[in-house]
Amino acid sequence: SNFIIKQWYQRRVVITAGGFSFDNCRRNAFMEKQGITFPTARKTGTTICGVIYKDGVVLGADTRATGGSIVCDLNCEKIHYIADNIYCCGAGTAADTEFTTRMVSSKMELLKLRTGREGRVISALRMLKQYLFRYQGYISAALVLGGVDVTGPALYTVYPHGSTDKLPYVTMGSGSLAAMSVFEDRYKLNMEEEEAKALVCDAIKAGIINDLGSGSNVDITVIRKGEVEVFRPYQVVCQKSQRQGDYTFPRGTTVVTNTTEMVPFSALQVTDEEVMEL
């Protein structure tokens, strides 16, 4: 009976096992030693931030996605929809933030249908942190979650290992220090909406200008009770400049030394034909 119980337990464990399978780690280490380079994950190398103001939450993000030191996407969207009243900015690996937020968005919708109520930010927070903790930081998603629900405006950060913070102003990503310096200098409680938008825009701009992993435009999402306003873009910071010179050559630049008549294909005649047997 001992054997049967052990088998049952093992089977159960196999069924409920989640997380990653690390079987390939040994193979990867071997390959690395052989000198094979692995492709880099596309990171968002980002500046994202959020503030709570008088009537709700303002979320901001830049729009540059990098793969190594190349800009993969000049205008990617980093403020993800979770629910009608909840949005989430994502920094870290682009795929991780995208799929994590989409998964939680689905779960929130199911929860809304199940309970018949508008979702709460705290529910999305719990789902995110329990998911990310299970993967022990291997899912590289650093999120700024904000929204307005029945309990009022709410703003949280979620770190890749699953810890969360509840704060009136937050920044994440590689440009977070530049953005945080703006907040620490000028944040006040109960700001007006225009003030809050200007503050978030300045914070993202500080990241765009001073951090190499952030760039392009400032996206802002304002969440109030009952409505959401998406500004995409709120401000274009990096504009492609006009080309100074014209590189097209005028007709006649190249001197024609002689011309040969082009033989049309139809004029060709088949002289010898040999069909090869496969």
Binding site: I122, L125, R126, Y156, S163, T164, D165, K166, L167, P168, L177, A178, M180, S181, V182, E184, D185, L189, D202, A206, I209, N210
Partner: protein, 258 residues
């Protein structure tokens, strides 16, 4: 070391590791022979130094903390040094190495005085000298673990602000910051300069105070006690230690993490 060969093994000459041989030789003496290493880590350290160059003069600031790892050990050290009437330097990084540089610079000033022609080394000269010294030390794999900010004026009286790194990186800029300051304070200083390029020394001091306050909020190894040095046409001085007003009312609302 003696190889016990099996009878069917080939005895081929093999590469001999001299280090191993020598170590083996000295083994019983209780000493190990290894190449001379300069394993470096800074011990007592100073955090950010900030500098702004305005048309009127240069303002430089640093706090008075010498950290011993995570311990706030020496809370009253001078990280700004007046070299002569034209230059003030600020030191980030290992404080012992900074004291060494200060000693050399003090001697240089004495030498300048002894010559007696009234000419003292100006800021660009000191900046260049520091760059040579620091780069030379890094080339010998024995760096002076500092980043120095050189604030002053040149012989023509024009304001000068320079930065030298422990690896010999040196440049001149309108706004300069070391360490954490380059992530937190530099964006603020750059924005202030962009918005008000003709700012004066008093406005620059106000900007630095704001930056030092934010650094105190966000840099673990900082202290709310700092000195501000000014080099302008009229004065070259380092202020008495002062503090910034801080607002911790954000912490008043109990919030937790959920």
């Amino acid at each position: 070391m003696a190889a016990h060969l099996a009878s069917n093994e080939l005895h081929l000459p093999k590469y001999v590791n001299m280090k191993e041989r020598v170590a083996e030789f000295w083994k019983d003496e209780g000493t190990t022979v290894s190449p001379k290493k300069h394993t470096m880590q800074p011990i007592v350290t100073g955090t950010s130094v900030l500098g702004i160059r305005t048309k009127e003069g240069v303002v430089i600031a640093a706090d008075t903390l010498g950290s011993y790892g995570s311990l706030a050990r020496f809370r009253d050290i001078q990280r700004l040094m007046k070299v002569n009437d034209s230059t003030i330097i600020g030191g980030f990084g290992d404080y012992a190495d900074f004291q060494f540089l200060m000693k050399l610079l003090r001697q240089q000033t004495i030498d300048d005085e002894v010559v007696g022609d009234g000419v003292y080394r100006d800021a660009p000269a000191i900046h260049n000298w520091l760059r040579c010294v620091l780069y030379n030390r890094r080339t010998k794999f024995n760096p002076l673990w500092n980043t120095i900010v050189v604030a002053g004026k040149n012989y023509g009286g024009e304001p000068y602000l320079g930065y030298v790194d422990k690896i010999g990186v040196a440049f001149e800029e309108k706004t300069v910051a070391t360490g954490f300051g380059s992530y937190i304070a530099l964006p603020m200083m750059r924005k202030a300069m962009d918005e008000n390029p003709d700012m004066g020394v008093e406005e620059a001091k106000a900007v630095l105070k704001r930056c030092l306050r934010v650094l105190f909020y966000r840099d673990c190894r900082s202290l709310n006690r700092f000195q501000i040095g000014v080099v302008s046409a009229g004065e070259t001085s380092i202020s008495e230690p002062m503090s910034a007003d801080t607002d911790w009312s954000i912490g008043a609302n109990p919030s937790g993490y959920e």
